[in-house]
Every structure is written in C-alpha cells, then in structure tokens.
C-alpha cells in the first residue's frame, strides 16, 4: 500500500471510476487542460478526452444544472465547484432540483450526481476561499453529504458516492489536500456511506466530529491522555444520512460528548448532533453536550485574524477538560 495525499486519493478515485464506468463524466472550471486549481483532475482529460472531462464556462449554476440534466438522461456526472465558497450560485439547482427530483417524480426519476468542492479555512484565503458549507445543505431532504478526513476514506467514499443513486455533496478540506497523508490501497475498494468510523477508542469522553475536526480531536486526545482522560474520537465521514447507531454506541459508553467542527457554531451540523443527543440520550448524559466550532463570523484573510476565529487544539483541550470535570 502506497502512502498518498488526500488530493491524490481524489484523483485516483476519479480515474478508477471513469475507467470502470463510461457514464461517469467530470465537469467544472479549469478541470481539463489545467487539471484543476488543486490538481484533483490532473491527467484525466488526457486520458479520457475533452468529451468526458469538460472545461465549463464560469457558471456554477450551469455546471450543476447541466450535471442534473445529464444525470436524468443516464450519465453519472461529477461536478467540481472550484471552491465551496462558489457553490452558492448553484444552490437553487442543488436544493430545488437535484434534491427534489426523485421525490417530485414519485420515484420515476433519479439524480445520481456528485458535487465535489474543496472547502475550509487555514490557508489564508479570506472570506471567499475558506468557507465551510456543509451546514447549508444539511437541512435539505434528498441530499447526501460526505466529508472524508483521511486519504483512505476519501478514495473509498468518493467511489461509493459516484456509484450512489442519489445526489451527493462531497466536500474535501483544502488544507488537508497535501498535508494529510496515509495508506491508500491500489485498485478498487469502497467505503460505504452512512457508516461512521471510530478513529480512536476511549472511555471517558466522546468527540463526535468530521473532516479536519478529526485531526484536532486526535491531537487533543493524545495530549489529554497524560491527564488520565480517555477520549474516543468518532469520525462521522457521512454527515447525511448520519450514522445514529454509532453515535448512540459511543454516547452510552462515555456518557459525555464534545462535538467539534471548523464551521461556525450557530446552526452548524454540531447543533443537530447535540440536539439529537439531548433528545434521545438525555438519561445517559453525565454532562452538557459541548461544542467547539468557529466564531460566528466570516473568515478573514490575515493570519492573525483568521487564527482568532477558527478552532484549534487548545480549544478542544479546554472543552475536554471542562467535560472531564463533570
């Protein structure tokens, strides 16, 4: 097994799925000749031609809408949105069309598209190259949301998403693209959607998280071990439909929960996780369900300012200590 980066895992998954299934196409801005601004589609146009790897005009609504129409007529389009911050122009097509096609047609039509987008902060991209957008789609019935934290999961989840019969939003943390490395098997395998993964076993506190939150949580868990606190880290991997059984298992084991995500706090995915636990596991809780998330602001460009608003390992540690005290 070779050690690969997250972005290499994306590229490998796309290549293998295009080889496997001629109905898979890739479309987006700069995905062709250029290979994508993050190189996710590197080499694909050379290998599969400009008919299957399509440089689109600068028009996210169109990218999504065309992918949707193609999906209704037998293709499996993988649309790249260059930055998640620019997915908002496609919001109507994704929310009012892709998400509703199966339901409104009483099951007669489906919309098997994957919308890929790099997201997240920490690269000094400012307000428009740092956003987390998962919470904006989270509430919408009919959309699946996947966020991988490791190269292994990334390749397997992206392949599973491309084969999924429903629209999948696939968000890749751009700061992890080259920094996060890990073993990735050659060849075909999938990681099933809606199955969370315990990235670290523990007995005192459960950290429920996804994406970069997983890495913050693991680092904090290592550190706090010295203080004789045993932390379990649950990586959701698929945000919708969420693996509620895995959450239940972890909560009944530790009776204390910390939710961590980089996205800002109010109305984030963490809100639903905390609310669900407060609703379904009230009797099991030994302490409040805490959340570590970004401040409810936009993400500024200057490092000094950016670091002030996004969560870090110390924030996670502080919350773990608070819970440990219960």
């Amino acid at each position: 097994m070779a050690v690969k980066t997250l972005i290499e895992a994306v590229n490998e998954a796309l290549r293998e799925e295009m080889e496997r299934d001629p109905s898979v196409i890739v479309l987006g801005e700069d995905v062709g000749v250029h290979g994508g601004v993050f190189r996710a589609t590197e080499g694909l146009q050379k290998e599969f031609g400009a008919e299957r790897v399509i440089d689109t005009p600068l028009a996210e609504l169109g990218i999504a809408g065309i992918a949707i129409g193609a999906a209704m007529n037998g293709l499996r389009p993988v649309a790249e949105i260059q930055f998640a911050d620019y997915i908002h122009p496609a919001f109507d097509q994704i929310v009012n069309e892709a998400a509703k096609i199966r339901y409104r047609s009483n099951g007669a039509f489906s919309c098997p598209i994957v919308v890929r987008a790099p997201f997240g902060a920490g690269v000094h991209g400012g307000l428009y190259h740092s956003q987390s957008v998962e919470a904006l789609f989270y509430h919408v019935p009919g959309l699946k949301i996947v966020i991988p934290s490791t190269p292994y999961d990334c390749k397997g989840l992206l392949k599973a998403s491309i084969r999924d019969p429903d629209p999948v939003m696939f968000f890749e943390h751009k700061k992890s693209y080259r920094r996060v490395k890990g073993d990735v098997p050659e060849g075909d395998y999938t990681v099933p959607l809606s199955v969370a993964d315990v990235k670290r076993e523990g007995t005192d506190i459960s950290v429920i998280t996804y994406g970069v939150g997983v890495h913050l949580a693991l680092e904090a868990a290592e550190k706090i071990e010295a203080e004789a606190v045993s932390v379990e880290v649950l990586d959701l991997r698929t945000i919708v439909p969420m693996d509620k059984e895995a959450i239940a298992r972890s909560v009944s084991k530790t009776n204390k929960v910390l939710v961590v995500h980089e996205d800002n706090k109010t109305g984030g995915v963490g809100a639903e996780i905390a609310a669900t636990i407060a609703e379904d596991h009230f009797e099991e809780l030994d302490g409040p369900v805490l959340r570590v998330a970004a401040a409810d602001t936009h993400i500024p460009y200057a490092p000094t300012l950016e670091e002030a608003v996004i969560p870090n390992v110390d924030d996670v540690l502080a919350a773990l200590r608070r819970l440990a005290a219960y």
Partner: protein, 353 residues
C-alpha cells in the same frame, strides 16, 4: 369518407396546401388538430373541476396549443426528449400523454404518472415518453435540457432535446447559462420560448429590453427564429428545421413563438387587474384553434361531421378517465417515500409514466 372527398378535390387544386408543402400527410394534418382539441378539452375540463372544488389548482395551455403541438409533432416520440414547463399540456399530449394521465394528475390520483399527487397538476415527467420531470421553478429546467442533450450525445443516442419555457424565463440566470454551454458545445437542443407577452402581470416590456426574444440568440451565436405561435404549421416548419440543424451537429436554435394567453395566469390569478377588456378581446381573436380549423375547412381536410366525431371521442376519453380517477385515494404513509432511493429507478425510454 369525407377524407376521400377532401383528397380528391385537393387533386384538382393547383397550389399544394402548406401542410403538403411541409411533407405532412392529410392524416397528420388532421391529427395535429385532434391533439390541439384534446389538450383544449382537457384544459377546459380542469377549470370545471376547479370550480367544483375537486382540483385546487389549474394552469392552462389555452392559446399555446398551436405552438406546442406544432413543435412537439415535429420531433420523434420515443427518440427525442422533451423538457416542458407547467403550461405545456398540449406539448406532452402531442408526445404521447393520454387523457387518463392528465386527469389522474389533475385529481392527485396515486397512479398519476407524473407525480402521483405529489406535485400540482401540469407538473409533467415521464421516463417512458422521454419527458423530464419538472418542478415549479421558472427556467431551472433549461440547463437540464442542455445536460440531457450532452448525455444523449455522449451515449451515442441521436436524439434531440427540446426545452419549453415562457418569455419571463428568458430573464433568468438558467436561460443564459443553459444556452451558452449548449452553443459552445454545439449540442442538439431546441430552446423553444412560448412568448405570451406576460409573466403573470409583468408585460414583456418590463421583462426584456429587446422586444423580440429571438434577438437574444445573437448573444450565443445561434439562430433566433421568431414565429407566429398561433400558426401550427408555421411552428412545425421552423421546429423541423431546428431539429435537422441539431441532428446535423450544428447546435441549438432559439425559437420565439408568439402565443396568446387566453386564461388568467392560473386559477389563483385575476387578469382583469392588469389586462384591459380590449386587449383580452384582441387575444381571443388570435385563438389558434379556430384558425387551424379554418385552414382544414378551406382545404377540405375536415368537415363538421368529422370534427364532431373527434370531439365526441375526446369527450368519451375524458369521461372514462374521470370516472376512474375519482375512485383513487392516496395513502398518507407514502408521503415520506422517495426522499432517497427506496425503489429502482428507470432511465429515459423505460418505466412508468
């Protein structure tokens, strides 16, 4: 009987009638009329159901029948694909939708082929008839037509996709982005605008800075063809040309069919608030059905008796469908189905609907 007479007399006339010029047989020319009458009857019947409190919402094709039938009949059912909007009852009827389909959806019957009671009436969608499912949002389906054409091409199908939309839809993002991509890729799509001069109450002059929607084609380097949308044969002619062009790999055409809206926008609308009596009367005079009837009479393709038989047959179809539809009742427990896949889904050309 009468048909023979018609044919024989036509032999003696010197100039060939337009439908013949267009390569339409007499039977086909009459069939176009039947489709227009069927759509009109289905439409009128829905207003009655609405007044009877049986149908909460009606949206009409009245005044658009020639544009819809003329264009849809120029395509090949089973091969070409359609991406209609809510006003396209006559278009889907011309593509094979039945009185039963229409009435079942009008009354939210669980076996309604387009949405099974989940959507308002006239929200079409049938894999079998190659009609894509649509919602209520204006213009969002235009890029779907582009995408469907892209898919047809990639999958080696030589089918043409027609997208229907109103004049108001051309103001919207989806129109611009959908046509631009289709033009760049020279995709086999026909963008067919049913320009009835209004978006609910907003007249074209407040909607578009160009008086003729066909002029918008220049921005995409595609042909823009304006046609009298109340002239079924003229529409058939321009659509056939656009379809040839699409099949030939020369890319999309924007057709601008000037229609009349003979009803209020929908059963929720009162157009007397924004249209004068005179204007409405003038529109009535452009009703495409008497116009085409006159043509058929002039060329002796149809007489009163033949027309009566067509109308009776249509009335029977609708009555039978109504009796059947009124029996159906929805099961509330199905309301949460189909958010995600919980049953196999067909592809275009197959399945239900």
């Amino acid at each position: 009987m009468s048909l023979n007479t018609v044919t024989s007399t036509r032999m003696q006339t010197t100039v060939r009638p337009l439908h013949a010029e267009l390569g339409l047989t007499d039977e086909k020319a009459i069939e176009l009329y039947r489709l227009m009458l069927l759509a009109r009857a289905l439409d009128e019947r829905q207003w009655i159901l609405n007044r009877q409190g049986r149908q909460a919402f009606v949206i009409s094709c009245q005044g658009h029948e020639a544009a819809q039938v003329g264009s849809a009949a120029a395509l090949r059912p089973g091969v070409d694909a359609m991406v209609p909007y809510y006003r396209d009852l006559a278009a889907v009827v011309a593509f094979g939708a039945s009185a039963r389909d229409t009435v079942f959806e009008a009354l939210s019957h669980p076996e309604g082929p387009w949405s099974g009671g989940r959507q308002m009436p006239s929200h079409f969608g049938s894999p079998r008839l190659r009609i894509l499912t649509g919602g209520s949002s204006v213009a969002t389906h235009i890029p779907h037509a582009t995408g469907a054409a892209l898919a047809a091409l990639r999958r080696g199908e030589e089918s043409v996709v027609i997208a229907y939309f109103g004049d108001g839809a051309t103001s919207k993002a989806d129109f611009h982005e959908g046509i631009n991509f289709a033009a760049i890729q020279k995709l086999p799509v026909i963008f067919f605008c049913e320009d009835n001069g209004y978006a609910i109450s907003v007249p074209l002059a407040r909607q578009s800075s160009v008086p003729c929607i066909a002029d918008r084609a220049a921005a995409y380097g595609v042909p823009g063809v304006a046609v009298d949308g109340t002239d079924v044969l003229a529409v058939h002619q321009v659509t056939s040309k656009a379809a040839e062009r699409a099949r030939g790999g020369d890319g999309p055409t924007l057709i601008d069919a000037k229609c009349v809206r003979l009803t209020p926008h929908s059963s929720d609308d009162d157009h007397s608030r924004y249209r004068s009596r005179e204007e409405l009367a003038a529109e009535r005079a452009r009703d495409p059905i008497p116009r085409y009837q006159a043509y058929l009479r002039e060329h002796e393709l149809i007489d009163e008796e033949a027309e009566r038989r067509i109308r009776v047959d249509i009335a029977d179809q609708i009555e039978t469908a109504l009796q059947e539809a009124l029996a159906g009742a929805l099961d509330p427990s199905t309301a949460t189905r189909h958010v995600f896949k919980d049953a196999p889904t067909p592809t275009l050309g197959e399945g239900p609907g």
